[in-house]
C-alpha cells in the first residue's frame, strides 16, 4: 500500500514554505500543550503533532476558494488554511480576539475568510455538512471543491456512510480524507473495523478511492491533488485513506498507554516533517531552514503573548451569535 512519492519538488522555495507551515503547526501545538498544562486553556485539547504533513500537503493541493471542514483535531488544518496563529491561540485561551470570538474553543475553529468552515466535535456529523457545501458548489456551478477530513473512528458511524452515499449518487465535487492514525481514541483499528482497508468503503458506493502511508508532504499534496482534480473537472467524489500517526495522546488527558514506546518511536523515526528538514538541509538550504525555525519561534511566542493579553468576550455577544436578527423569546 505504500507508494513513495515519485515527483520531487521543482522548487525548493515551495518545499521551504511547506516546511514553515509544518513547523508552525508543531510549535503551535507544543506551546498549546504547555499553556494547557499551565491551566490557561480549558476543556479538551486534541493535538495534531505527527499529522502535520497531511494538513499542509492537502491544503497545498487546494484553491483558496475551496471549502474545508474537519474534526475537533482542527488546529493544524486551520493554520494550514491560513488562519493566523494569533487568532488560533486566542481561541484556545477563550479570548474575544480568537477565530470564533472565544465561543468555540479548541474543537471549533472557524475562519470563513479562508474557507476553513470548521472543526466539529461530533464524530462523523460534519461529513454530510461537507457534502452540503459541495452540493452548493454544484448547484451554483461555482467550480469549488469541498474537502473533508475525519479519523478512522468516523468510518463506523452512519453519517459517514450517508454522506458517501449521497456524494456518489449526486456526483458531488468533494474529497473525503480519512486521516487514519490507527487509533479511534484508545482503541486500535483491529478492534473497531472488520476490514482494515478503509478505502474499500468507497467500492460499495461506486466511488474512486486512494490509499497511502504518509512519507512526504509533497506526496500528500500530489495524491490529494489527483482527487481534487477529479472533483473539480469531473464532479466525482473520492475517498482517500491517508495512513498517519499522532505522536501524542487522543487529547491532553490521554497518556496513550494503549501503545508501546517502541511503536511510538518507530513512527517518530518516520516523521515526514523531519524528513523535509533533512532534505532541505541536504540541498544546501540549512541557513534558510534555521531562519524559518527562528521566525516561527517569534510568531508562536507572539501568538501566545497576544492570546494572554487579549480581552475575554462579554455576555453581550451571546444574543447576537445565537440568532441572526431580532429575536423575541
Amino acid at each position: 500500500m505504500t507508494t513513495p512519492h515519485e515527483t520531487h519538488p521543482p522548487s525548493s522555495a515551495q518545499h521551504l514554505d511547506l516546511y514553515r507551515q509544518m513547523v508552525t503547526i508543531r510549535r503551535f501545538e507544543e506551546e498549546a500543550a504547555r499553556a494547557y498544562s499551565q491551566g490557561k486553556i480549558g476543556g479538551f485539547l486534541h493535538l495534531y503533532i505527527g499529522q502535520e504533513p497531511v494538513a499542509v500537503g492537502a491544503v497545498a493541493a487546494l484553491a483558496p476558494d475551496d471549502y474545508l471542514l474537519t474534526t475537533y483535531r482542527d488546529h493544524g488544518m486551520a493554520l494550514a488554511r491560513g488562519m493566523s496563529p494569533r487568532a488560533a491561540m486566542a481561541e484556545l485561551f477563550g479570548k474575544v480576539t480568537g477565530c470564533s470570538k472565544g465561543l468555540g474553543g479548541s474543537m471549533h475553529f472557524f475562519d470563513v475568510e479562508h474557507n476553513m468552515l470548521g472543526g466539529y466535535g461530533i464524530i462523523g456529523g460534519h461529513i454530510p455538512v461537507a457534502a452540503g457545501t459541495a452540493f452548493a458548489s454544484k448547484y451554483r456551478g461555482d467550480g469549488r471543491v469541498s474537502i473533508v477530513f475525519f479519523g478512522d473512528g468516523s468510518v463506523s458511524i452512519g453519517d459517514f456512510h450517508e454522506a458517501m452515499s449521497l456524494a456518489a449518487l449526486w456526483k458531488l465535487p468533494i474529497v473525503f480524507v480519512c486521516e487514519n492514525n490507527e487509533y479511534s481514541m484508545g482503541t486500535p483499528l483491529s478492534r473497531t473495523m472488520s476490514v482494515e482497508d478503509v478505502s474499500q468503503k468507497a467500492l460499495g458506493y461506486g466511488m474512486a478511492r486512494d490509499r497511502f502511508v504518509v512519507d512526504h508532504v509533497f506526496q500528500v499534496r500530489d495524491r490529494i491533488a489527483e482527487a481534487v482534480a477529479r472533483a473539480r473537472h469531473e464532479s466525482e467524489p473520492t475517498l482517500v485513506e491517508v495512513r498517519t500517526y499522532r505522536f501524542r495522546g487522543h487529547s491532553m488527558s490521554d497518556p496513550g498507554k494503549y501503545r508501546t514506546p517502541e511503536e511510538l518511536e518507530e513512527h517518530k523515526q518516520r516523521d515526514a516533517l523531519l524528513r523535509s528538514r533533512s532534505e532541505l538541509v541536504g540541498a544546501g538550504l540549512g541557513a534558510d531552514v534555521e531562519k524559518v525555525d527562528a521566525e516561527v519561534e517569534v510568531v508562536i511566542a507572539d501568538a501566545v503573548r497576544f492570546a494572554e493579553e487579549s480581552p475575554e468576550p462579554g455576555p453581550e455577544l451571546l444574543e447576537e451569535t445565537t440568532y441572526k436578527g431580532a429575536f423575541a423569546r
Binding site: 480568537g98 465561543l103 471549533h108 470548521g118 466539529y120 454530510p128 452540503g132 423569546r329
Partner: protein, 327 residues
C-alpha cells in the same frame, strides 16, 4: 383572496419563494416524482425541475446535513421530512449543526434553512409515527419553531420562515392538510413570527393552543358559550419565539388559563407557557394554570385508545371546567 386547502397554502408559499429566490430549493423523500408523500409538493418538480426539487434516498441525517452545509455557504434549503417523526434520525444534525453553527463560529456563519413536515398524531399510525416533535426542538436556542393552524398562517409563516436567516422548524399536521381557508394572493404578505393571534374573544377563561388543538379549542369554546362561559382562544402560531405579551394580556382579563397542544405532559411547550403565565400574571390568576395535553403513554394503535390518549375538545372542556370551578 383565494380559498385554499392547508396543503395548497404550504405549496403556494414554497412556489412563490422559489420563484422569487433562486437560492431556495426543496429536498426530501418523495418530494419530486412521487409528488410528495402527502401531495404537498404536487406539480413542483414539473415547475422547477430536478435541480431544485430534489428526491433523496432514505437518509434523514444525511440530507439534513447536506442541506445545513448548503445553507451555511449561502443557499436556502427547504427540507421536507416525510413526517417529523423521522427527524429524530437527524436530531444530531439539527441540534449540533443547524442550531449551533452560528454561535460556535463566533457569528461568522448562519444557517438559513427550513425543516418542514406534518407533526403530531394522524389516525391510528401507532407509537412511532405519532410524535409531537415541537417540544424537543423548542428547547434548543438557535432554532425557531412554528406550528400554524390555518391555511392563511401556513402560507404567511412559511414565507417568513424561508426568508429568515436562522434555522426554522415548520410543523404542519396531517389532520389539517384538507382544511380550507381564505389565503392572500399577495406574494409579499408575510405573517411575522413571534406573534400570537386571538382567534376568539372572551372574558371568562383563556385557552392557549397551537396547530390542531386550535380547532379543538374553538369547538370547546362553542360548547362553553352555550353554558354561559365565554372563552378567549389564542393561537400562538409561533412556539419559539413565543408571544408572551398577547397571552399575558388575555390572562389579565380572564384570570384563568388552559394550555393545550399535542405532546406528553412532562415538560414541553405547554409547561413553558404555564410557567410564563404563573410568573408574569401571578397576581391575576384565580386558579392554577392547567394543561390539556396527550396522556403520558406511547401512542396506542387501537382507535378508541388513541382518542383516549390524544387531547381534544373533551379534555379542554374538562380542564376549563376545573379552572372555572364548574365541577
Amino acid at each position: 383572496m383565494t380559498v385554499l386547502r392547508y396543503r395548497e397554502a404550504v405549496k403556494a408559499a414554497m412556489v412563490e419563494e422559489m420563484e422569487r429566490d433562486s437560492r431556495v430549493f426543496l429536498i426530501g423523500e418523495e418530494v419530486g416524482h412521487y409528488q410528495g408523500a402527502y401531495k404537498v409538493s404536487e406539480g413542483m418538480l414539473e415547475r422547477f425541475g430536478e435541480r431544485r426539487v430534489i428526491d433523496t434516498p432514505i437518509t434523514e441525517s444525511g440530507f439534513s446535513g447536506v442541506s445545513i452545509g448548503a445553507a451555511m455557504v449561502g443557499l436556502r434549503p427547504i427540507v421536507e421530512f416525510m413526517t417529523f417523526n423521522f427527524s429524530a434520525v437527524a436530531f444530531d444534525q439539527i441540534l449540533n449543526n443547524a442550531a449551533k453553527l452560528r454561535q460556535m463560529s463566533g457569528g461568522q456563519l448562519t444557517v438559513p434553512i427550513v425543516f418542514r413536515a406534518p407533526n403530531g398524531s394522524a389516525k391510528q399510525v401507532g407509537s412511532q409515527h405519532s410524535h409531537a416533535m415541537e417540544h424537543f426542538y423548542a428547547h434548543i436556542p438557535g432554532l425557531k419553531v412554528l406550528a400554524p393552524a390555518t391555511p392563511a398562517d401556513a402560507k404567511g409563516l412559511l414565507k417568513t420562515a424561508i426568508r429568515d436567516d436562522n434555522p426554522v422548524l415548520f410543523m404542519e399536521s396531517e389532520t389539517l392538510y384538507n382544511i380550507k381557508g381564505e389565503v392572500s394572493d399577495d406574494p409579499e404578505l408575510l405573517v411575522p413570527m413571534g406573534l400570537a393571534s386571538v382567534v376568539r374573544e372572551g372574558k371568562d377563561v383563556t385557552i392557549v393552543a397551537w396547530s390542531r388543538l386550535v380547532h379543538a379549542a374553538l369547538d370547546a369554546a362553542k360548547v362553553l358559550a352555550a353554558e354561559g362561559i365565554e372563552a378567549e382562544v389564542i393561537d400562538v402560531r409561533s412556539l419559539r419565539p413565543l408571544d408572551e405579551e398577547t397571552i399575558i394580556k388575555s390572562v389579565q382579563k380572564t384570570h384563568r388559563a388552559v394550555v393545550t397542544g399535542e405532546g406528553w405532559p412532562y415538560g414541553g411547550v405547554g409547561a413553558e407557557i404555564a410557567d410564563r403565565i404563573q410568573r408574569l400574571a401571578f397576581d391575576d390568576l384565580d386558579a392554577p394554570v392547567l394543561r390539556a395535553m396527550t396522556l403520558d403513554f406511547p401512542m396506542p394503535y387501537n382507535a378508541k385508545l388513541e382518542q383516549h390518549v390524544i387531547p381534544g375538545a373533551a379534555r379542554i372542556l374538562e380542564k376549563v371546567r376545573a379552572v372555572t370551578y364548574q365541577r
